[in-house]
């Protein structure tokens, strides 16, 4: 019986690292928006308090 070949990329030892790093990219992008929103919230609070 012919055994199907396992795709070569699944043997790559650094694949897990790649997946983690790529996942981290989305975490960074989300964190940037959260951080900017928090600062914007603080600016809004100051502006409305003064105005």
């Amino acid at each position: 019986m012919r055994v199907p070949k396992i795709p070569a990329f699944l043997h790559r030892p650094d694949l897990r690292g790649d997946v983690t790093r790529v996942g981290l990219v989305f975490v960074y992008e989300t964190a940037i928006v959260v951080a900017l929103a928090v600062v914007a919230l603080a600016i809004a609070a100051i502006v409305l308090a003064v105005a």
Binding site: L24, V25, E29, L36, A40, V47
Partner: protein
Amino acid sequence: MLLRPEREDLRIVAFALGRILTIVAVASLLPLAWATLGREWHPFASFLMMIGLFAVLGQFGMLFRPKTERLDWSHGMVVVALTWIIVPAIGSIPFVFSGHYGSPLDAMFDTVSGLTTTGLALVQDLDHLAPSLNFWRHLLHFLGGQGIVIAALVLFAGGGGLTLYYGEARDERILPSVRSTARFIWSVAILHLVAGVLVLGVIGHQFLGFDWKRAFFHSLMIFFAAFDTGGFSPQSTSLGYYHSYVFEFATMVLMVAGAMSFGTHFALWRGSHGAVFKNLETRTITTTFLITVGLTFVGLAVTGAFGRIAGLTRQGFFQVLSAHSGTGFSTVPSVELASWSGLAFGGMALAMGLGGMASSTAGGIKSLRVGLAAKAIATQVKQLLLPEGAVASTRYFQFGRKRLTPELAQSAMTVALLYVVLFLIGAGVAIAYGYGLQEALFESISAGASVGLSVGVTDPTMPALLKLTYMFQMWVGRLEFVAVFALLGFAYAWIRGK
């Protein structure tokens, strides 16, 4: 003495152009498939006509095989500039026959706007546009944003790739070869496509109550427009249609990702986040973003548009992020946006003009140039304060310590100045037609910086010359002048050269 281009020069340009148009013909099979699956036979026929024209012209161009396929600098620039004229001209065919546009000029306006990732639209009754046509509008964002030429580079690694790459206003070679860089750019896009559509689709289904088919359609359209900083949306009320802060938040993450340079994507991908946050460009865009947020908030608070922190933050933050990233989504109607006067208008206009990061899909002056120009001005001031004979030297960090040379400073300032001139041209034409200064300036910056936010000037009833002016601004602004100047120089040499 100006040298007239030879027949061989024309063959080189025609051949490269033919290859790119063939790629576009293949990409255009996607909306055709969509129309087939949806049994939308009217759009199907117009897509078939468009694909046929792309294919015929592409194959015709490829008949002129030159002796050498190596493009020099001017050939590459001319090819890119022509691509960005021919593709919208043919790509507008399905819109012309859709019955949703007042004239072929309006249809071409939207195609130019889509391809340049601007997002200004003249479509009428958008809420009833056939899904396949809506898909084509948004796919134009993806093709233009990711780069038609970049796609061609991945498939045909012929000589001269570098000039084509630079022609599309990209100046970062992340990896050793242009082809591997182009592949990386497309990998980032595909990865974000999968994640973005999945997240937006789940939000659409779980939070907005859409069925899975509708959630997938909206998530795909919004992804194309957000990640490629385009700004088209499947509904006439833009992001305001969804009335969901969760959906808005997910879209903002995609807008930020789209406005990030591919060098930054690469560094994050590799885990070198320290360098990213140390970069001049990152620090500049963070600073200018917070300044424009502050200005807009003060303007809105003074006019009493939003009296509560939550409302001011949600609406103001989203609009400024959309403007600064060059996306052009809005959660407020254009009539309301037009009422944002004073500092709120100033903050929004500034955010649009400054734009996102270099080598991203965002338009505008770009943060790296803004940072370099600011450094150059600071150096000049420092020089004045130093004793006679002493020379002020400035260094900056952008993926490594670099010296700010006078040539680099001059180049950054020249491009910034050209953008200001471009914004003034559009504003001048609108003012000549009787539009107010504020609305004329807002719309012109929006067109020239590839943003797409509108205060109501962009409308099917606006004068044809103004439509042409905005189309010119979108084209020149997206290609960042160089390719357009090269095309004009090539044409001039053809007429006046010896």
